[in-house]
Symmetry: C2
Subunit: 333 residues, 2 copies
């Protein structure tokens, strides 16, 4: 910057004015400065700028999801990033692997870089680190899972309602033995979907068979094992409700391996690519992932811009997408 000022024969302050498009610089000087900046390949230093500026903005937000390689997380990130770009903001992204310690460390790293706000998919268990960061004044929005502390915005899906709807759909076809296969119980989404499952059973007048409930299935492998065990029961389920996308894939694998994909009904929570190309197509509860991301981004940018209205819990509706696997009727035997 000093070099630019020297070359244009003005003060650094004037260079600053020209770069930021502030008034107080004559047209001829503006041209000289622009030319000098171009000649020298000058790039303003945003970190120095935000250090000195009064608003202290870094034009950067942090995004902490569970696993950026998961399609759900990736789509969410993309939606947030698009909104951020529109605001001239860049995104620092990290995977917390659902590990509280790791999430805490990443949060400190983001904080040290003075991000303007963070969008977080909270790791299961205590949210002390999140709460602490929040109380330090960092704008924060939780996605997919709500905070266990107050004063913080969040965006979630209609986990419970959509799960209930899925179970009712199965019940309406005559299924009486509907299994539940869920992810880690510490996850709020798992709990909600399970609650929806229970509500669906109750509303359909069905009684819960405890042995048809399998939880803590983190990953497709555990889901496969659980699905096999369920089908080996004396009175196996005639329908499966799989409450997470990897669980759905695991269950699907087992059904196909046993040639049951046309006999046992299946509804999964969370859509996935090619679900429509399978035989039968997989009926799923589809979350509006870009919608979730956009809403989260809108909230965080509003807070960053000083919105002090009461915290919001936005709920984005999910929809049942019928493709075949959820429309299978119970078989006679």
């Amino acid at each position: 910057m000093r070099d630019v000022a020297a070359l244009a024969k003005v003060s650094t302050k004037t260079v600053s004015r020209v770069i930021n498009g502030l008034p107080g610089a004559g047209p001829e000087v503006v041209d000289r400065v622009r030319a000098a900046a171009r000649t020298l390949g000058y790039r303003p230093n945003l970190t120095a700028s935000s250090l000195r500026r009064s608003d202290r903005r870094s034009a950067t937000i942090g995004v902490l999801f569970e696993d950026l390689s998961n399609p759900f997380d990736a789509a969410l990130l993309r939606a947030v990033e698009d909104r951020a770009r529109h605001n001239g903001v860049l995104v620092l992204a990290g995977s917390s692997e659902d590990d509280r310690a790791l999430q805490g460390e990443l949060l400190v790293s983001l904080s040290a870089r003075r991000v303007d706000g963070v969008v977080v998919m909270a790791a299961g268990g205590h949210q002390d680190a999140l709460q602490q960061e929040r109380e330090r004044g960092t704008p924060m929005v939780l996605v997919d899972r709500p905070p266990t502390f107050g004063g913080t915005d969040c965006v979630t899906t209609t986990n419970r309602d959509s799960s209930r709807e899925a179970v009712l759909q199965l019940a309406s076809l005559g299924h009486r033995d509907i299994a539940f296969l869920g992810d880690r119980r510490t996850l709020w989404t798992s709990q909600e979907r399970y609650t929806g499952y229970l509500e669906g059973l109750a509303q359909a007048g069905l009684t819960l068979r405890e042995e048809l409930v399998r939880t803590d299935l983190h990953g497709a492998d555990l889901a496969e094992t659980a699905a096999r065990a369920l089908l080996d029961l004396d009175r196996p389920p005639t329908a499966l409700f799989t409450a997470q996308n990897l669980v759905t894939v695991g269950a699907m694998r087992v059904l196909r391996a046993r040639g049951l994909q046309h006999r046992v009904a299946l509804i999964g929570f969370d859509d996935f690519p090619l679900a429509d190309m399978l035989e039968p197509g997989i009926t799923v509860v589809r979350q509006d992932v870009p919608g979730l991301g956009r809403k989260a981004a809108d909230l965080i940018f509003a807070r960053i811009d000083g919105d002090t209205s009461p915290p919001v819990h936005a709920v984005v509706p999910a929809a049942l997408v019928r493709r075949g696997s959820g429309e299978i009727q119970p078989s006679g035997d």
Copy 2:
């Protein structure tokens, strides 16, 4: 920091020493400073630190891919991020949408934040912006596509060799009419895969039928249209080589819609989730995506650490994964 110093009754310089674990601070003072920092919830300001430090490191790298919601890009990002985390480095991520102007803007944004280096999936066409940034001294690694300028590391897949192998596999089953469906011709990967296709045909002693080559299929929709047109030919292809994952999906859709999925052979470049669950399973050339990401990260961190050895073009081998669709023999008619 001043507050911490005041509370611990030391100078800010001593606080700096304690925070950075430098020698020159007595044990008692260290404890006092640590306690004060905890009490006040002090967080060091990394941007101010990197402004003043001699090495000028921001402990942040930039990652510019085409579309972070694409599974390929997402997996790549995740691999880079893992390596970065190991080095205490955070990742600024952006989607360039294969748009040179957008990529240039993002590059300037990253540069303004003084990232230590960038990992870029170059947008098609001229790479002026990339070259310019590189010449400014920014460490840079290109992934998936090589630079059109010198002095820069890159990491790619065995596009040509693996494509040739795929075509030879089809030819060895007796296919003589093998179609090529490719992404935008401006993309280096598309060109390489096409070259591999040509080499495969030549090596198998087959002559190229121009009308079996369809390119510039960006997205599944265009691929569907092209696939339909191919199958409508008087002498339609008996095998398809689809040179990108979305193209593969589009072609698959058409084959299924026409009930040809067991009659027309298909090999796709790039694996995708559930390719094994389809009927038939889809034979693909699988890239080692985490391997690509790890290699790219290793290169960028080596350069950041001052490695000045000659530029490297690392090639990560891809493998043909046989699942059924690529093993279909030409039908009699």
